[in-house]
């Protein structure tokens, strides 16, 4: 029993002598361990450890709030106008005079497409483009220019 499971199943030399099921299973284990190694150094783990989006004092305050207070806070949503900044972009989501939501690129590049409610729309810089069905400003904007690049920006 002293032989390690790794030697038995996971080393290529040993695996070659094993059944095809054992070989397959060893590769599955290896793949999962590779993923875990990769994720340990990922931006996700780093943001988690650095506490991005999460202040410990605030977390404890929220944990002490009663459900009624929580329900009241849940109603707070982004309102028009909301300004988004990031990279070369300054974009505003606002209401037109007739109340229709609209998007305008104040600073940025030409030929941009912006994802709104899962749909990519073309927006010309400086022009207000109505967004008839938009109920509230999104928490982030995803922008792309074919052949040039993609951006992800947040409200400021």
């Amino acid at each position: 029993m002293s032989q390690s499971l790794y030697e038995k199943l996971l080393s290529p030399e040993q695996a070659a002598t094993e059944s095809k099921e054992a070989l397959w299973l060893s590769r599955l284990g290896e793949e999962i361990r590779d993923y875990r190694t990769w994720s340990a150094d990922s931006l996700a783990q780093s943001e988690f450890e650095d506490g991005l989006y999460c202040d410990d004092d605030e977390a404890w305050n929220w944990a002490n709030q009663e459900p009624a207070e929580l329900a009241a806070d849940d109603k707070a949503r982004l309102k028009f106008p909301t300004h988004y900044h990031g990279g070369p972009w300054r974009i505003v989501l606002k209401r037109l005079e007739d109340g229709t939501p609209a998007i305008r690129i104040d600073l940025g590049l030409e030929n941009a497409e912006i994802q709104i409610d899962g749909v990519w729309i073309s927006v010309k810089k400086g022009e207000e483009q109505p967004l008839k069905d938009l109920e509230e400003p999104p928490l982030q904007l995803r922008i792309r220019i074919l052949g040039e690049g993609s951006w992800l920006i947040w409200p400021r």
Binding site: M1, L9, G29, E31, I32, D41, C54, P67, W151, L152
Partner: protein
């Protein structure tokens, strides 16, 4: 309405109050995730469905998954809350709000999963790793916070002005030399205080331009997992016994043979492990190949793609396989 502690006690005793608990979980998960962007959610979409899905998974982990770290100490969170007589605030803290809460751990894992699939996020992750290499070679590790993470700085003399994120980003964008080294060094100097690695990465990602999503999509490895494959993996997993599932978890952790034998009562000798290996491997290989429409092949030529498919389905479904806990 009964308090959270009372509902959990009823659930642990005889599986009562599941519907009430689910509603409370959704309410708190919605609050805890209020500031997180789409990238942290299943399929990179933050909506009612993904928030409820996260609440459901948080519930399952709290009810069924034994966690090794404090305060759970090899118990499920619900069992811990009952045995330690926690009242509502610490239950809410450990379940939803704390950095190391069950919900926030699942958010991290979903984000990591999305980082591998989304071209823009993958670019940000690669940038983050490159910045990490530079920091380790060239910067000073200024201090370690109570959470165990590092902050970085570069030596500089004279008084330091602490600037806001947006002020630093504006100055970085105005730089003529936008090499990564110059951006990192300048950002560390402009910040005026030691910086967390992820914060620095997010600044620089705003200054640099992500590659075109379309170009990257052409080189991305796999299309999304279809429903047939997902169901095949889940069915194959559900057919495994508890001991056989333990075997896969042991392989994922890289446990040695002695540890496996010691921890799983069903594996008392070598031949019982061999039988389990053959059964687990056989079930997965056959189920996945059938679902993907690939002929059952010799294991030597089993495509990596098939295994990636299984991992892609199993890891989000089974947090214990991919778990990385901080004690």
């Amino acid at each position: 309405m009964e308090d959270l502690a009372g509902l959990i006690a009823g659930f642990v005793d005889n599986e009562q109050y599941a519907a009430e608990l689910r509603e409370i979980f959704i309410q708190h998960v919605r609050r805890a995730t209020a500031r997180y962007p789409d990238a942290y959610f299943e399929l990179s979409q933050k909506n009612d469905e993904s928030i409820e899905g996260l609440a459901d998974r948080s519930f399952v982990v709290c009810a069924r998954v034994e966690k090794g770290r404090f305060p759970f100490c090899a118990r499920t969170p619900f069992t811990t809350f009952v045995e330690e007589r926690f009242d509502d605030p610490p239950i809410r803290y450990h379940s939803f709000y704390a950095k190391l809460s069950i919900t926030r751990e699942l958010l991290r894992d979903d984000y990591a999963f999305n980082l591998r699939r989304d071209p823009v996020l993958r670019w940000r992750d690669e940038l983050h790793r490159n910045i990490g290499r530079w920091l380790r070679e060239n910067a000073e590790n200024a201090d370690t916070q109570s959470g165990g993470h590092s902050r970085w700085t570069v030596p500089q003399s004279g008084p330091r002005l602490i600037r806001s994120d947006s002020a630093v980003i504006e100055k970085l964008k105005a730089l003529h030399d936008k090499s990564l080294e110059n951006l990192i060094r300048t950002a560390l100097q402009l910040a005026g205080q030691p910086l967390a690695h992820s914060r620095l990465s997010n600044w620089i990602a705003e200054v640099l331009q992500a590659p075109s999503q379309e170009v990257d999509m052409e080189t991305s490895q796999l299309p999304p997992v279809n429903r047939e494959i997902r169901e095949a993996v889940v069915d194959a997993w559900n057919e495994l016994s508890r001991d056989e599932r333990s075997l896969i978890a042991a392989l994922a952790r890289g446990d040695d043979y002695d540890t496996l034998i010691a921890n799983v009562p069903g594996f008392r000798d070598r031949s019982s492990v061999s039988r389990a290996v053959k059964k687990c491997g056989g079930q997965f290989v056959e189920a996945i190949h059938t679902a993907m429409g690939i002929e059952f092949q010799d294991a030597n030529s089993t495509p990596k793609e098939v295994i990636e498919r299984v991992v892609e389905v199993l890891l989000p479904m089974l947090p214990e396989l991919g778990q990385r806990e901080v004690s």
